[in-house]
């Protein structure tokens, strides 16, 4: 196999939420550098949720990502249910009900 040189320095990944750069450097067929830089400033969601009501938490966590807001909402609601120790209410038609069915 031919030994290749590949150099990729991609500033700003497109079509995703968040700012990331990819740096790949291959010299003579050997990988020298392979790095994913996250250049966006952190937003500290774990910190800002402290002291918030569980009813506000879902609203806040869904703002982590505008593309996959549903996943963050559901995770927050499930965490709140776990904290309360109520378990999953299996109301017919609810997402939990559909997921619990074999």
């Amino acid at each position: 196999m031919k030994k290749q040189n590949v150099k990729i320095n991609m500033e700003y990944l497109t079509r995703v939420e968040g700012h990331g750069n990819i740096v790949i450097d291959v010299r003579d067929g050997k990988l020298k550098t392979c790095r994913l830089d996250i250049v966006e400033s952190p937003r500290f969601f774990e910190g800002i949720l402290r002291g918030r009501s569980i009813f506000e938490a879902q609203h806040i966590t869904s703002r982590i990502c505008g593309i996959c807001a549903c996943g963050h909402s559901l995770a927050s609601i499930q965490a709140a249910e776990d904290a309360l120790g109520t378990g999953r209410p299996l109301a017919p038609g609810s997402i939990q009900y559909l997921r619990a069915r074999p």
């Binding site: 497109t14 500290f44 990502c65």
Partner: protein, 246 residues
Amino acid sequence: MRKPRVGIFDFACCEGCQLQIANMGEDVLGLLGSITVMEWREAMSEQWGKRLDIAIVEGSITDLHAVKRIQQIRKRSRVLIAYGSCATIGGVNGMKNNFALDDIRKYVYGEQFAAFATEATKAVHQVVKVDYFIHGCPVYIPEVVTVLKNALQGIPYYVPDYPVCVECKMNENVCMYDKNVTCLGPVTKAGCNSWCINSGNICYGCRGLVSNPNEKGAQDVLAKYGIPMDLILKKMNMYNKCKELD
């Protein structure tokens, strides 16, 4: 005549407001017929880097790198639109300002916190001049269309300065307080057609406070329904924390 060149940029945010443009439906065809999108990181790979007629900026400014970037964008664009709550009032990112910066960095990232540079959250207009504001988390698409039409014609757009309750009453909703739920409608800027309350949710105040909120009236309402003051104050600083830096 060439079509106006538009760039869409994002800073610290969830990028859901940009997604609202993609979700516009039929309106997006009319929009794309009247502008040329030169840069839009979330939806296209092309880069432009030269002069723009309109820059649509989403997200709040939370570090020095972002300050430099927004100044560059301001320099090369004729009109700058702050787009979505994070850009116009700081949004949920502003909640970070409730805590001492080093404390919250340490809480989230432990002893290695120094690797994560950050500054107090600022809205875009607190760093550079902004020509148009589109509030909302996420933005309300009919309003976006109106603002873009105004921006393309060069006429100003005034955000309504009356509370959400005005629109909510016209939509004939039952008041949330009558359902024993706290709602920020009485002090929040209108323009969203009381979108959330129409769908059964409360108003979280994402569009920012009206310029002259009726504090006494709000206190009377809270007293009438027996709601503690600190509950509503906490709700208010969910979106409005950055206002203190104005």
